[in-house]
């Protein structure tokens, strides 16, 4: 295997909703700028006026402002810098730490099981790791996962996330309205009358998690910020 003394890899990726990401992995600053120069010659016109994030490896953190200014000269304005962790980084734009996004999976669940379809009354699923349900979980059904539970639909059955004692697990659903929520060793029940008779207007995605010994339910948007 040949080991390169110096290497540089600059990539520009279009991200569906997020505009563009410029990702830099290198240990040679000169080469980086040269590569950026040649890539931008082709694609800079597409990137003007859209959101641009800059993803840097640990080596390039110290050049953050240089790169941002370099791009500014080309009329590309960086909206945020993405790094593994922010120590040693000096940048005059917002910083996103990737390390932080592991929050949802702190216990390191490796497995993800996906169930597509509606889970009906009397049915149940038990999985190791995270569970993703693409469909509805109807009343009187039960879902258990040792990790997190994500329901891309209505959740009217009973979820047990962190089954087996993981109190860090979360339960997410587009329409979170179960009679009970169980997370790890905690349980809470809904005080409302039956969900099927409730007149509900604004249904928003919600997340349930354990905070200071209590199961808390929070709007998804709010939870993302916390």
């Amino acid at each position: 295997m040949v080991f390169n003394q110096t290497m540089s890899k600059v990539e520009i990726k279009g991200k569906n909703f997020l505009g563009f990401e410029i990702s830099i992995n290198s240990n040679d600053a000169k080469k980086t700028f040269a590569e950026l120069e040649s890539l931008l010659a082709v694609s800079s016109k597409y990137m003007k006026n859209s959101v641009v994030t800059l993803k840097l490896d640990d080596f390039n953190k110290k050049y953050a402002n240089d790169i941002i200014n370099f791009l500014k000269d080309k009329e590309i304005f960086v909206n945020a810098v993405v790094v593994k962790n922010r120590s040693g980084l000096d940048a005059n734009v917002p910083v996103i730490e990737i390390g932080k996004t592991h929050l949802i999976n702190e216990r390191g669940e490796k497995e993800v099981s996906t169930f597509k379809g509606n889970l009906r009354s009397g049915q149940s699923i038990k999985t190791n790791g995270d569970l993703v349900v693409v469909g509805n979980v109807n009343s009187n059904s039960y879902i258990y996962a040792t990790g997190n539970i994500f329901v891309l639909g209505k959740l009217y059955g009973v979820p047990h996330a962190g089954y087996g004692g993981n109190n860090e697990a979360v339960v997410f659903a587009f329409d979170l309205n179960p009679p009970q929520i169980r997370i790890g060793d905690y349980i809470t029940r809904s005080p409302e009358k039956n969900v099927l008779l409730k007149k509900r207007v604004d249904i928003v995605p919600e997340v349930a998690f354990v905070d200071a010994g209590v199961i808390v339910i929070m709007g998804y948007d709010e939870w993302l910020k916390s």
């Binding site: 009906r120 009397g122 049915q123 509805n136 109807n138 059904s141 039956n194 099927l196 008779l197 007149k199």
Partner: protein
């Protein structure tokens, strides 16, 4: 001729399975199809009464599977329509008197003679239900807009989905527009959102059904009654015609009735 087996089921009891069976059987027969309906609610038979044929039972379905009589001898001809027949349930036995395989065999035999074999399933998800499910080509699930009935229907659909019996449709029975408006009853859309299977009919609450049942005249014989109209439309849809759904609305009230109701509420 190769007929089709329709099974009418619900999970919960008392939602109108037998009434629906009787009406659809009569409706299909009136449309010119050759129909036989089998009451599988062994021990608690009702279909014979709803069809007004209770005096004519000589042999029943248990006699047929036990080979006490020939299938032909157990076919009770309807008193109004020539091409409708009933095989009654035994009242003196219970669900364990027949096995699913025997009903399958009987259905296969009847398929040679009839266009439609309509099985009236008993409530529940035990043996009797299985008797009715094994031969089914299509399953019609009847529910009322009550939460308990919808929950049981959901359970039944789950069982059928797990057994790959996918051809299902839904009848919502006894919808009451006044209660829906007040928010005390689930609407058609609420029920559909939970059960998410194709809808084949919505039957409005009809106070006359009790008397129709008692005199053995299904409401489809009264085309002016709200339920009769709904059943007629369902029959047409089973036959593959595209009939629009009637929006079920409250009856227009006179001004005096409105004032009286205002004080009542």
């Amino acid at each position: 001729m190769s007929g089709k087996v329709l099974t009418i089921t619900s999970g919960k009891g008392g939602v109108g399975k037998s009434t629906t069976t009787a009406n659809l059987a009569l409706g299909l027969a009136l449309a010119g199809k050759k129909v036989v309906t089998i009451d599988l609610d062994i021990g608690l038979r009702n279909l014979d009464m709803i069809l007004g044929l209770e005096n004519r039972i000589v042999y029943d379905v248990v006699n047929v599977v036990e080979k006490v009589c020939k299938v032909k001898q157990a076919l009770i001809k309807d008193k109004r329509v020539d091409n409708l027949f009933l095989i009654a349930a035994a009242q003196t036995r219970d669900k364990s008197a027949v096995k699913p395989e025997q009903i399958l065999e009987l259905s296969n035999e009847l398929k040679k003679e009839f266009d439609y074999i309509i099985l009236d399933s008993p409530a529940g998800i035990e043996g009797g239900f299985k008797n009715a499910m094994l031969p089914a080509d299509e399953v019609i699930i009847v529910t009322t807009p009550e939460i308990s009935a919808v929950r049981d229907a959901d359970r039944v659909i789950g069982i059928l989905e797990a057994n790959e019996k996918k051809d299902m449709s839904l009848i919502i029975n006894r919808i009451n527009p006044v209660l829906v408006r007040k928010g005390d009853m689930m609407s058609k859309d609420d029920v559909l959102q939970v059960l998410s299977i194709p809808l084949i009919g919505v039957v409005p609450e009809d106070g006359n059904i009790v008397s129709y049942t008692n005199i053995g005249e299904p409401s489809i014989l009264h085309p002016d009654s709200p339920s009769g109209k709904a059943y007629k439309n369902i029959t047409q849809r089973i036959l593959g015609k595209d009939v629009p759904f009637i929006e079920i609305v409250e009856k227009k009230k006179g001004i005096i009735e409105t004032i009286i109701n205002f004080f009542k509420e």
